[in-house]
């Protein structure tokens, strides 16, 4: 019987600062293997002596078999991660969960809404499209609304600048100002301010990822724009220990397990579930 808790070995090939207490780690699988996954699925990263933690890796644009994760230093495992240097190794097992329904997204406008480090799964989807020339901007619109506490905690700023050449990016910052010269529109306040300031794309799918509070306040705004419950997708974060097997119970949300039935849910699935945000 396969031991689902065993992992592959991965090696860090580059460490970059992404913002206050956030680093990204470029890595490859040590035996040269691919990570076969659907964007939105997650993996479990393992550091012996410190434990496991869940991250959503993204393909690097234009680099084969190289992936990265963004790690926010918050606890034991992530603090240890921040000490890793180029050449260091860690364990990885997965993929787990369902990921985004790419077939359903084909040819449709995509409204991406991220709060803080919630940009990570959405960037995973964008990088997947970019690497396969599937952004398909001739036939549809993509718009990214990105809310952050301050400019300092905004992640993947260089990529945001590049994306901004191809599709619309709108930023909201709770505190401080957005430096001039980035070319991106920026508004002061929490992410919901954007709904009063700009034209939000319609007739497509909306994908949200961020701290729980954004679901509470942003979903009603998205519905107001005209999106159906079935076309609003939320990628949920939960504590996980078995992480992907649906046994440990930590990630249960009403009738679902985030690690098995999610982490991507439609709002139609979650709207009657009290514990989802």
């Amino acid at each position: 019987m396969i031991n689902p808790y065993e992992h592959k070995e991965a090696q860090v090939i580059k460490v970059s600062d992404q913002g206050t207490d956030i680093k990204s780690f470029d890595f490859k699988i040590k035996d040269g293997g691919l990570l076969d996954y659907t964007p939105g699925q997650f993996f479990v990263f393992s550091l012996p002596g410190y434990g496991e933690s869940v991250f959503v890796p993204a393909e690097k644009v234009g680099k084969k078999n190289v992936y990265d994760i963004a790690v926010h230093k918050l606890g034991r495992v992530t603090s240890r991660f921040h000490q890793l240097k180029t050449g260091d190794t860690f364990g990885i097992r997965g993929p787990y969960g369902n990921g985004f329904d790419l077939n359903k997204f084909k040819g449709k406008n995509i409204l991406l809404i991220a709060g803080g480090i919630g940009l990570v799964p959405l960037r995973c989807l964008l990088n997947y499209y970019i690497n396969r020339n599937e952004l398909d901007l001739k036939n549809r619109s993509i718009q990214l609304l990105y809310g952050c506490r301050s400019f300092g905690v905004m992640i993947f700023k260089d990529e945001l600048k590049k994306w901004n050449r191809d599709f619309d990016i709108q930023i909201s910052l709770d505190e401080g100002d957005h430096p001039a010269g980035t070319g991106m529109n920026c508004y002061k306040g929490v992410i919901t301010v954007l709904f009063n300031k700009i034209d939000i794309i319609k007739n497509g799918v909306a994908i949200l990822c961020g701290p729980p509070v954004i679901y509470k306040f942003v979903v009603p705004e998205v519905k107001q724009v005209g999106y159906n419950d079935e076309d609003i997708y939320l990628s949920l974060e939960r504590r996980m220990h078995c992480a992907g097997l649906g046994t440990c119970q930590h990630c249960a949300v009403g009738p679902y397990y985030v690690c098995k039935d999610g982490p991507v849910f439609s709002y139609a699935q979650l709207k009657d579930t009290v514990q989802y945000f």
Partner: protein
């Protein structure tokens, strides 16, 4: 089999297995290890449900998943000492069915199950059935639960033996006892489907207004005792323990927890999704009556009554369901 032969059989099992069986302590039974002849004599055959469960025989309270040395994991050869759960009730064996489903792909659970021996005891007195009908009734129950050997009370100090696995057959034959009947496992779900009363409870949980749980959240102390003593609860943590003597060495350990504990749903940064006792007790009931039937088409409650008995503030399932029903009507 008579009581004298049965005691000899226990002695025989003790040569291979560490035995856990119900023993009386005051008015209650507790599952305890049976070490010697005097403790064999203390085994209680009354079929009263013990306060604690046989769960550790299936899922150890602390289980080492991997060792690591110098910061590297070592390939694990999963191995367990043979243990025997002796005199499990039909309800506890129903719970084993749920564990089998849940841990179907878990090599630790599977190895543990291979190494252990599950012996049940069933009382079918008072069913109103006699003769051939009673045999049919007994077999109907036995073919839907998982066991190796089953003792069915057949009179004062007399038991009829059934086997539910090849392992059970081999053990009884090696002991020199051949007067048993084999039951072919027919799956956990009976032909008539889920018990209608349990199904009614499932609907009550699904349809309950979230505000209904506030009342129970105010009463519940989130001590987790109901979950620890529940035969179908299996929440666990996986954490690394570092060896204090040898740097970079230690173990990745899976250990019991409960969904009532404060940090159970906490994520990095401190957010908790089961923040209040109301949300925790709602989650516990949702697991038993909604998630488990959704996933496995069986109920997550085997109706053993332990949770009602051990709750320090007197929360009883029947009261909760009655409250949910009345709360719904009042809305």
């Amino acid at each position: 089999m008579t009581k004298t032969t049965l005691n000899k059989f226990i002695e025989y099992l003790k040569q291979t297995y560490k035995i856990y069986a119900p023993v009386r302590d005051g008015s209650e039974l507790y599952v305890k290890p049976i070490n010697d002849e005097s403790e064999i004599a203390e085994i209680d055959f009354t079929n009263q449900i013990p306060i604690n469960t046989f769960k550790p025989v299936l899922l150890p309270k602390r289980d080492v998943l991997f060792d690591f040395k110098k910061g590297k994991f070592e390939k694990k050869n999963i191995k367990y000492d043979p243990e025997c759960a002796f005199l499990m009730s039909v309800m506890d064996l129903k719970a084993v069915g749920l564990f089998h489903q849940t841990f179907e792909r878990d090599p630790y659970y599977q190895k543990k199950r291979q190494s252990n021996l599950l012996i049940g005891q069933a009382f079918f007195e008072g069913t109103g059935f006699t003769g051939h009908l009673r045999e049919r009734y007994e077999e109907d129950i036995l073919e839907h639960i998982i066991f190796d050997i089953m003792l069915v009370k057949a009179g004062p100090n007399k038991w009829k033996f059934y086997t539910g696995s090849e392992k059970g057959q081999v053990i009884l034959e090696a002991f020199g006892f051949k007067d048993f009947e084999h039951i072919e496992f027919a799956g956990l779900i009976k032909e008539e489907g889920i018990d209608p009363e349990l199904e009614r409870h499932r609907k009550e949980i699904v349809e309950a207004d979230n505000s209904a749980w506030g009342h129970w959240g105010d009463i519940c102390t989130a001590c987790g005792k109901c979950a620890i003593d529940c035969p179908t609860c299996y929440c666990f943590n996986i954490e690394d323990e570092q060896d204090t003597k040898e740097k970079g060495s230690g173990q990745r350990v899976r250990s019991w927890t409960t969904c009532f504990y404060n940090d159970f749903s906490e994520v990095g940064g401190g957010a908790k999704f089961l923040k209040t006792n109301a949300r925790r007790i709602q989650n516990w009931y949702t697991h038993k009556w909604v998630r488990t039937p959704k996933e496995f088409q069986i109920m997550g409650c085997v109706n053993c009554g332990r949770c009602d008995k051990v709750c320090p503030v007197g929360i009883k399932r029947a009261d909760v369901f009655k409250w949910l029903e009345e709360h719904k009507k009042s809305k």
